[in-house]
């Protein structure tokens, strides 16, 4: 599988969309953090550290597009056949893609953090803790995207389901804000807090500081939730994967 992983990484690093994404991640983070566009009002009051976290939402949108389009090429071009023919199982193909996407995320986050530091972010909490929380949250999100991509072959449906997940995350978190603030109490609120942080969107909102304290479970809990989400998504994706017939 290490060979598959190396082959995938080679392709990703040569992919113009990914390279462009990393450049944009750096430039936009730098511009936003340093407030080069001259935003006033709420954005100005945020300060460089919170602005840096705020702009990281773009990575969520990026991987919503990149993961399905890139991985679905396996089926569109039929290249997965070469891998199966070479003796790899479908699970190995899946895991090689998953880990290469995680690596791609790590590379993009490095560009993002570098842009943030140059833009003026200084808080260790932002640079280390929030970045770590966002990294694991996005890993969970990528695992969810991979579930859609590996299980659905038609690219149109993959794209629709990927954006459906994104929309659902957004709406759930918006509704969750209201429920957590006004409706849920006691044990229900604790459950609500965990469910809220199952969404990468929710964790991002918590890191930006735009939410009430009631939805914040702490960085360690957020990371545990993200790891759990990743594990569940990986488990669901791999059920019966090797038994699936390929055309």
């Amino acid at each position: 599988m290490s060979n598959l992983y190396k082959a995938n990484m080679r392709r990703i690093l040569k992919n113009s969309i990914f390279v462009g994404g990393c450049v944009i991640a750096f430039v936009v983070t730098l511009a936003f953090t340093a407030n080069l566009m001259g935003f006033t009002g709420r954005f100005e009051e945020m300060g460089p550290d919170r602005r840096m976290v705020f702009v990281s939402v773009a990575m969520l949108a990026f991987f919503t597009i990149f993961v399905p389009l890139y991985t679905n090429m396996e089926y569109r071009y039929g290249v997965i056949r070469n891998k199966i023919l070479s003796g790899y199982s479908q699970k190995e193909v899946y895991f090689s893609h998953l880990f290469s996407h995680f690596t791609a995320l790590a590379i993009m986050m490095l560009c993002y953090i570098t842009g943030g530091i140059i833009g003026g972010a200084r808080s260790p909490e932002t640079l280390v803790i929030s970045s770590l929380v966002l990294f694991f949250a996005l890993c969970g999100y990528i695992a969810t995207m991979m579930l859609v991509t590996m299980r659905i072959i038609k690219i149109t449906l993959v794209s629709i389901f990927a954006f459906l997940i994104l929309e659902t995350s957004y709406v759930s978190v918006m509704v969750g804000n209201a429920l957590m603030a006004f409706v849920l109490k006691g044990a229900a609120q604790d459950v609500g807090r965990i469910v809220y942080n199952c969404f990468a969107f929710g964790q991002w909102l918590v890191c930006t500081g735009l939410t009430d304290d009631v939805v914040k479970p702490g960085a360690f809990v957020q990371i545990v939730i993200s790891v759990a989400v990743s594990a569940v998504m990986i488990g669901i994706t791999t059920i019966g994967l090797n038994k699936r017939d390929l055309q």
């Binding site: 949108a61 449906l157 629709i160 459906l164 994104l166 957004y170």
Partner: protein, 255 residues
Amino acid sequence: MFRNLYADTRNILLSRGFHIALRVIAIYQIFYFLLIKIVFIFALKQTMAAEEVAFIFANIAAFLVTAATLYISEREFSNGCIRNKIISGVRRTDAFLSAVIGGMLQGALYAMFACVISTVISVLFTGGYMTFSPPEIADYWLIITMACMTIGAFSTSLIMIFGGSKICYVIGLLIAFVIKVTNAFVLDALYPTKGFCKLTGTKLMAYRFIDRFIPYSYLASEPHYDMPSYLIGCGGLLIISVVIGLIVFNKKELS
């Protein structure tokens, strides 16, 4: 042109994507109604007004119309059917306009179907409309329908422009999502829950423009502008989509 339009329309009405979209609309509305009804019965212990559930289709309209038109129109390129049309002598302009009209038809049909489901639920299972008068209800649905038709046309134009490349699979959905998120900020800034709108100058103009003249925004809140504004917004986006789409599609290399 009309033969092509008939063929495309028939294709849409018989396609699986169209029927699935209708089922999704029905299931979504029924499911949402049941959820809210349970909250009203057990938590709030009061009669539910029709307004709580009548216009929920607007929440998913942009995504649904974009996804459905993507699924149905993209086949033209993936199956190579657009090539057959051009080879058979159909003019590119006719092929494009027929596809866009098909997109508008889809938008209209989805909105009308949602209206029927909503009316049935409202009349049979709720306490009736408390704040909306019949003309206001009709206006709201008319605006939703117009917005859906415009979004259907816009989404189809994007597919015809970018068809054959990877970007056509994501661009419509991405625009719908970004505008949805932007609308939340725009509405919050223009109509804050506490206090008054603090926007001034260019920012105020830009936010107002988005709220008043972008059809995606018509689905984000109840109507609060005059009908000519909505007509201008829908008509404007339609004309821009068609003009730019025709120019690009007529010059596009089809593989």
